[in-house]
Amino acid sequence: MKDKIQTPPTFYTRLFRWFCKEDIYDELQGDLDEEFLFNTQKLGHKKARRLYQREVIKMVRPSIIKSLNTQQLPNNHTAMFKNYTLVALRNLGRNKLFSSINIIGLAISMVVGLIAIAFITEMNSYDDFHEHGSRIYRVVNTRTPLNETSDEYATTSVLTGRRLVNDFAGFEAVAPIYRGLSGDMTQGEVTITQRGIYTSNDFFKVFSFPLISGNPATALSDPYSVVLTEETAMKLYGKTDVVGEVIEYSNGDQLKVTGVAKNPPFHSHIQFDAIGSLETLITKNSTTVTSWGNMWSSYVYVLLPEGAKPENYQASLDQLAAEENAKVNHFQVAMGFEYLSDIVPGNGKYNQMYTIMPRKNVESIAILALIVVLSACFNYTNLSIARSVKRGKEVGVRKVVGARKTHLFSQFIVEAIFVAILALVIAILLFQVVRPGFLTLNPYMDRTTRLELTPVMYLYFFGFSLTIGFLAGCVPAMLMSKLKPVSILKGISTIKSSRRLDMRKVLIGLQFTLSMGFAVLVTLASKQYKFALSYDLGFDTENVLNVNVQGNDTELLKAAFLKVPEIKGVSTASMVPSTGSTNSDYARYKDPMDSTTAYTIDIDTEYLSNMGHELLVGENFRKGETKDKIIINELMAERLKIGSPAEALGQPLYYYDQSWTIIGVVRNFHHGTVNNKVEPFAFTSGRQNHSNLNLKLVSGDITSTMSKLEAAWKEVDPLHDFSATFYDDQIERTYSDISASVKTFGMLAGIAICISILGLLGMAVYTTESRLKELTIRKVLGATVSNLVLLLSKGFMPLFIISAAIAIPAAYLMFQRTIVKYAVYKINVGIWELSGGALLVIGIAFLTIGSQAAKAAKMNPAKNLRDQ
């Protein structure tokens, strides 16, 4: 009895069992046991155990332990791989419907994935051409005006840049940049319009913008010197060898060319056509340019020494800010460093130098792509599981012949990857088709993104499709490799477990939730878009062409345009209301304590009638007598408690640092977007320059009218191009963010619906095929076609209802949170707006199921039952 208790240590026995080769295990374990028993009797249990342990440990040697591979099997991986590919191909060929559903579904969603990859890679590649990129930081400001909340700005005062150089040690180079060398440059006969920057010599030390001629150490030392880009030089002179030439700048400055730089790369957040020396600005206007408060259009970039950490320089910034803040009292500025590669994609700072893709957009594209791609993976998983019944026999036979679980697993993974790579080929073709559409999705895109396919990108794509293949093939491969040969070969029906059916339903449900969600979102977004466009502004925008005056004399232009017979009326104004920009000041009536923000534009005498504003009482501006006259809207009279429109006439008003006399009251109208309320508004005349000309056209042949207008423009200004936009188009552009959402969600809805319908089609085909006999017998016994269709569709109904129940509230929430987050005027969301999209999806789904069921039900029963 005692012997039985005295067993060798279990753990070591197990360990030995685990690592010992199969064929020698019996012999060695036997010997170990015998030795152990002998030792127990001779040396005692404890000692025997210790010896046993030592023996096992010493067994760890190459001649005994298993090799990591399944070394007992012949090494025929390549052959099996070939076989898997062959079988995969045969399977694709045999089930053309399933295969095309799989491949097309994956390809469609892969396009979204490819776009996301290309887009994110591109955004992350911004500014990585700078040699010292890892040491470049931008100084950014947080400005807190007195009694108001603070805002973050990408801009910093020029003063900061100058003081960092003069008063603080340790920076390798400091480059202040002042935006605004924009305007015309003239050389002899040639005049071009360009956008440039002012900066100092350190600019070339910090950044890698190489000069092809000129000395970077001195090019920007003197005032009135300028470095041109190759492109600008070519435009002006037709050659790049132009150092020493003199250019006339539109403000009258004579600029001397001291260098020619290479064009800045597209993927640079700093863009310029010309670089002027910052000294030019400082010589002309030292106090404004270098004041602490002037931080609206200048940037400071610093190059830190090798190995230096920005935190160590924060103290310098804090000290500088504290010293300067002490000298002012209506605002405070705090400064910090921003790493060069964090600038793009942007994190929402104001006053960026150039259009910058917000990080939010990059993230949302990544998330949406992930959703779509996963949904397509579900599809593959779903269809593969559905087909596992048919593939079961193959699995059984393979297992009986000697395939292991890992072999079968890799077979199905190889098959999935094969499908994914086929899909990738289609997706890359589709990508080329979709690309232009994506680039024009919103105004940010075409200015910041190119989506060019580089070899690296193809590598990423390939890796992506491998991942997709693996993800999609993982679950079916696992399920299939687990099948037990005995149960498969005995009878197929046994593997139809209910658990797997449930999983399929969950997957399909998820897809439909997404489809319905996007569909509902599109409906809501497009309704809101149409609502915003057709919103009654209270004045007339139809057939109004807005012309950019571009600094010309408005009277000359008016006279020229009035000669064109298709023009009904001409008026001018300081800006175009209802397109996003506003201009405002506090206005007050007699009570000095009661003021209100009032918006304004400056107009000429024809504006009110030309734009269809309704003057309720009073009169219009008269030529020459406009100096202190003002026309207000009803709301302003009400808000300032002046009284009724009639009472307001002749009353004084204090606005823009002067007093005005009210000469008229117009009906309320909308000067902003649907994101603002109707607010107090006042028209003045002759206070500001007019930059916009409104042409009221008679409707008719637009093309011929436009060419006549262009000819009229050329008479006045032969230099600049005629630039005009229809008012309605301008309003449309104002709402481009909503239209971008409509387009994005529209595309996603399309893709999601495509994918889920494809998946459903596969499921429907499978269901009808596997229940064909049942259906036929039912038919023989007297069921009608509609009975059968109902029978097959019935199972999907609860699925759709649950999907809709999740999708509709989620979509509504998303609509409220994103698209109309800031809108004051928005659509009334009714039952149809909400359920319309979902019903559409359900309708398409039932058509899909129904068509399959009807096909099966209409077949000749004799045909299906003959072989029984």
Partner: protein
């Protein structure tokens, strides 16, 4: 030739198998070797040596004699082949030859 070279430990194992005659299997070889040499020989090391000898064709083996104390597992009995005996003899001849030619003086000194 590397294939037929007989290492010291392998030579001892071969001889022990010959000594044990009909009863040469894992445990007995291990015990016999251990008691004769006074060395602590692990079963793992023995296995490696046996595998090498088997590869060289110096021993063969057959299964037999499962006992209760072995948990019902069979013993693997080893036998030295003719080739193995020949290799042992060659090794012995070589040593004898060398011994015979060692000068008496040298031996006396040591």
């Amino acid at each position: 030739m590397k294939g037929t070279y007989l290492g010291e430990f392998q030579e001892l194992v071969l001889l022990t198998i010959l000594v044990l005659a009909e009863n040469a299997y894992g445990v007995t070889i291990q015990d016999e070797l251990g008691s004769r040499t006074g060395r602590n020989i692990s079963r793992g090391a023995l296995h490696t040596a046996l595998t090498r000898l088997d590869e060289k064709g110096f021993i063969t083996s057959e299964y037999g004699g499962a006992t209760a104390e072995r948990g019902g597992r069979r013993k693997r009995f080893y036998k030295v082949t003719n080739q193995g005996t020949k290799a042992l003899e060659e090794s012995k001849t070589l040593r004898d030859q060398l011994w015979s030619e060692v000068p008496k003086v040298a031996l006396g000194k040591s």
